[in-house]
Assembly symmetry: C2
Homo-oligomer: 311 residues x 2
């Protein structure tokens, strides 16, 4: 009894739902596995290595893609922090159930004592908020058809879930599962990327437009989501030994090409991505009796793949 089945993008990729159609039922929609197998090479993109962070934890590697088209100043600051080894030796300090996992300097404890804080080096201590940006018609925009509770328009832009408000002319990244945000204090310019969080539960969309989103985890989410929850206030770990050490955070661009992961992400403006979204909106395999006919922004997984090393 191995059900419920997982989301189509992954479940069917495993071939488990590719059951034959019954004679009197509609033909099943193609599975994500079938759709991905038929995808064209140009539907995949290789993220710019200057936008990829490799965060090494004891359990494995987390890969984060920065979003400089939405938060350029934060991307630049985080690149500086990574290049100057700011994150190396810091830790995951907070895991709050159904909310966020956060990492940074364990001595940044709001006590007011800044003497123990790791210096930011040449990175900036404050940054303009970058919570929203002017809609740029040159950026790709793949709208979703089913509406949204929070925003007038939602869709994908360059591989990131995003929202738009045409009346104000603004767009912004959204707090979906796996999105990486910039922690801050009360002043809106107090975030600088030295402390980051990732969404590990139901999308806290109320945070949208109130925090800068730096990017998205594209590999290794289970290392961040499958951690014991902190039992201190706000999910902070009470004891130092509960923290997960960050061995290093490096920019892929700073590594020799041979050491970079051959990771690709399906373009969110590709026909195959559209077909996968449609297959998930209306599942017609034998397990499902009622296709939803709808999908919400944060329920869509963006496929990634690792290219096999050439012999």
């Amino acid at each position: 009894m191995h059900l419920p089945h997982l989301p189509a993008a992954l479940a069917v990729a495993l071939g488990l739902l590719a059951l034959p159609a019954l004679a009197d039922t509609p033909k099943p929609t193609p599975t994500a596995k079938e759709l991905l197998a038929a995808s064209k090479p140009e539907e995949w993109r290789t993220p710019d290595p200057s936008n990829l962070l490799y965060m090494q934890l004891p359990q494995g590697r987390v890969v984060i893609e920065l979003a400089p088209d939405f938060t350029p100043l934060h991307a630049a600051n985080i690149r500086t922090l990574a290049r100057e080894h700011y994150f190396d030796g810091l830790a995951i300090i907070r895991v709050q159930d159904n909310f966020v996992t956060q990492w940074g300097d364990p001595n940044d404890d709001d006590s007011g004592d800044t003497s123990k804080l790791k210096p930011l080096g040449s990175a900036k201590a404050t940054l303009p908020p970058e919570y929203t940006r002017t809609i740029d018609p040159r950026l790709p925009w793949t709208p979703l058809p089913d509406g949204d509770v929070y925003a007038p328009k939602v869709g994908f832009s360059e591989g990131f879930p995003a929202a738009r408000d045409p009346s104000s002319g603004r767009e912004w990244l959204t707090h979906c599962y796996g999105m990486v945000g910039v922690a801050r204090n009360v002043p809106p310019d107090s975030g600088n990327g030295s402390s980051l969080y990732v969404v590990i539960g139901q999308a806290p969309r109320g945070l949208d437009r109130n925090l800068a989103i730096a990017g998205r985890v594209i590999e290794g989410m289970p290392y961040l989501s499958g951690l014991p929850r902190g039992t201190g206030a706000l999910g902070f770990y009470d004891k130092a030994e509960q923290r997960v050490p960050i061995l290093s955070v490096k920019l892929a661009a700073d590594l020799p090409p041979a050491q970079r992961e051959p990771l690709q992400v399906l373009r969110t403006d590709s026909a195959t991505f559209a077909a996968i979204v449609e297959a998930k909106r209306n599942r017609r395999d034998t397990f499902y009796t009622v296709p939803a006919g709808k999908i919400d922004l944060c329920s869509i997984d963006i496929p990634t793949r690792t290219l096999a090393a050439k012999p």
Copy 2:
């Protein structure tokens, strides 16, 4: 740098957001802590002990409230299974990231070999699906104002998130974080409650109306969500030693009253619950620059409390 703040219902309960309003900003909405402190005793309900499952894991106790008004046959079967100690000695066998944690008989591996399965005792092996029910005007219904991507109407009924379709006259429980569903095979009547799953990620609302929902975890979610993700297909644990043993599942009603937890749940049709929802829709503390003005069904936490033991 201890932000983002957690959802209002919990964050402000800790008092951390109860900052003074600036002179030129709108008066902050009351915090959830303030609202809960001012709640009336009759706004809280003590769940019927015949609807409460205590699932004891090595790490701690999980409490599940069954939903017999929506899935009465499943509630009855699960009560039978618990009373006959069916679950004792079984295990958590699957943790799929951003989807579900599932428990049941580790030997139920779809191999077709049923000889090793634990007998169901006097519980039924198949049940009518109970995926939806006729809207019952006698059941409480607290609608939400902001719409929903998946269903014509959403709200709360007796402490559970639910959806309604007035045109078909049907209502159903929804797959929000913490909701407990009934695993099944392909035949719709193949679920019986012997294997259950709980949502641990973005609400997989596409499962709504395709699986029976037995209830909701009201205490102990971190013991189910904060587990290492399975690396087998569909997130199943590859190795027996990765599984988390279930020490016992008991019905609270079968325990002496002194051994029952004095757990209460805020009524979802109470004025205090409505005020908490409104406070989360429009946060006006100093941290937030843009109140969302909206909230989706699965982003609302339902407060619980443990009554202090009387001296």
